[in-house]
């Protein structure tokens, strides 16, 4: 503490109007008292948006070391974090010519009231070396990679593969696996905090959703059998958890032109105290529906027009 006090010397104003000298000196001494107290200073800086925090590293060396310290990270983690999704539109395979610019990511903030303005509206990458996505993995740390068991689903033998019938994600410090059981039935697994295994966090049953949103029911003519087949034009984008307030945890569904937020209804535990039953939805309620800009085509039995990436706020240098 003493070290900081020494660094933060006062710049007492030298040429000020007589009447305000006293005020300025008290303000200066309070400012110095605050700047010399890491605890109070942290309480102030941590309440600024992440981008400002990063900028404030340039204030002085002691601010840099404060903002980079483990204690500050710990304090940060006790505040609600911005949890958003970056959505990248998939390009239809047959579009010619391919667009000149790289695909852009649309930023999507599930709960806009949380901390003011969204940090970004969209994200663009410049294509490099013919890499269409414009994204390269610069480095990864093998030491950190450990194999995790795929959860066993009782009474169900389908081989789980990421992408098709399974979706992997992270939210608010929790790892999730969303596994499709049947077309409208899903289970959301969550990794135990000690990484020892998965447990069922939510049951998702979208029959009621489909009934309330008839637009998602589509059909196509099977070219081989000439039978008309029905399918549902929705896909699950992910689960957003709120540790602080479980009522705000939600499931995001992509239906044609829209993203729908579905809140979980938490029932008292069923069997082992961990099981929570999802139930839907407040369909067609504008508050819960986000309309997407531009139109999108439904182009297959599984309606997935977006690649979804979680937006994670971090002070880490990458």
């Amino acid at each position: 503490m003493r070290k900081h006090l020494r660094r933060c010397k006062a710049r007492v104003p030298t040429a000020v109007a007589q009447s305000t000298v006293e005020d300025d000196v008290t303000t200066a001494s309070s400012a110095i008292a605050i700047a010399g107290n890491d605890d109070i200073l942290s309480e102030i800086i941590v309440r600024a948006p992440l981008k400002s925090q990063v900028r404030f590293k340039s204030v002085s060396k002691s601010w840099l070391s404060l903002i980079s310290s483990p204690g500050f990270s710990l304090l940060r983690s006790s505040f609600p974090r911005l949890s958003g999704l970056l959505l990248r539109k998939k390009w239809p395979y047959l579009v010619h010519p391919a667009p000149a610019a790289g695909p852009s990511f649309e930023f999507f903030l599930p709960k806009s009231s949380l901390s003011g303005d969204p940090p970004l509206k969209s994200l663009n990458f410049v294509p490099s070396n013919g890499n269409f996505s414009g994204v390269d993995i610069l480095q990864s740390c093998n030491e950190c990679i450990e194999e995790m068991p795929v959860p066993a689903i009782p009474g169900f033998r389908r081989h789980l593969r990421n992408g098709k019938h399974m979706l992997f994600g992270e939210s608010d410090g929790h790892l999730h696996l969303i596994a499709e059981l049947f077309t409208t039935k899903f289970q959301v697994f969550e990794m135990e905090n000690d990484y020892s295994g998965w447990f069922v966090k939510y049951h998702v049953d979208l029959d009621g959703f489909v009934a309330a949103f008839p637009a998602v029911v589509r059909s196509y003519l099977d070219p081989l059998t000439t039978v008309r087949r029905e399918y549902y034009a929705f896909s699950i984008l992910g689960v957003i958890r709120r540790e602080e307030n479980e009522d705000e945890s939600l499931l995001l569904l992509n239906v044609p032109d829209k993203i729908v937020r579905c809140y979980f209804e938490i029932f008292p535990s069923l069997k082992d105290g961990t099981l929570k039953e999802l139930l839907y939805l407040l369909p067609d309620d504008e508050r819960y529906v986000i309309r997407l800009s531009g139109s999108s085509n439904v182009c297959g039995p599984r309606y997935t027009n977006y690649n979804v990436f979680h937006y994670i706020e971090s002070l880490a240098l990458v």
Binding site: R7, A10, T27, S30, I34, A35, I40, S52
Partner: protein
Amino acid sequence: MASSIENNNEKLTLKSSDGEEFLVEKHVALQSTLLQNMLDSDCSSADVIPLPKIDARTLALVLGYCKKHADASSSKQGELNSFDSEFLKDMDMGALFNLVLAANFMEIKGLLDIAAQKIADTIKDKPHQEVREIFHVENDYTPEEEAAVREENRWAFEGFP
């Protein structure tokens, strides 16, 4: 805790750094964890509790906050929120600094929260050079070091001098 309920009408006297005395109802004073601990451990046998770090102007503000929050029932959160934002509305940086220091010293969590948030909101869009001046922090970077830190975090400086 039981004693605080029994003696609800009891008052105590707080003395600011500049010698002004404030008569405070006990349930208002209990908003401060510092005072609560003092009262619980019966340190308050002295008639006057000196607060040598807090001037009268700041102490009056702090006690105004405590009174509002002690008197309002917990169900009136909305009313308290609008009181809080009105309370801080036209406060200058010096007053906010004093308030944060007082809230920290007297351990009044809610007041620390809102005052720190207000300061953060005021400085968040200011260039770091200006933040330096507000907090009277001396720039101990060499120009090269400062440029390097800035370069490392270039994305956060878009639109800043």
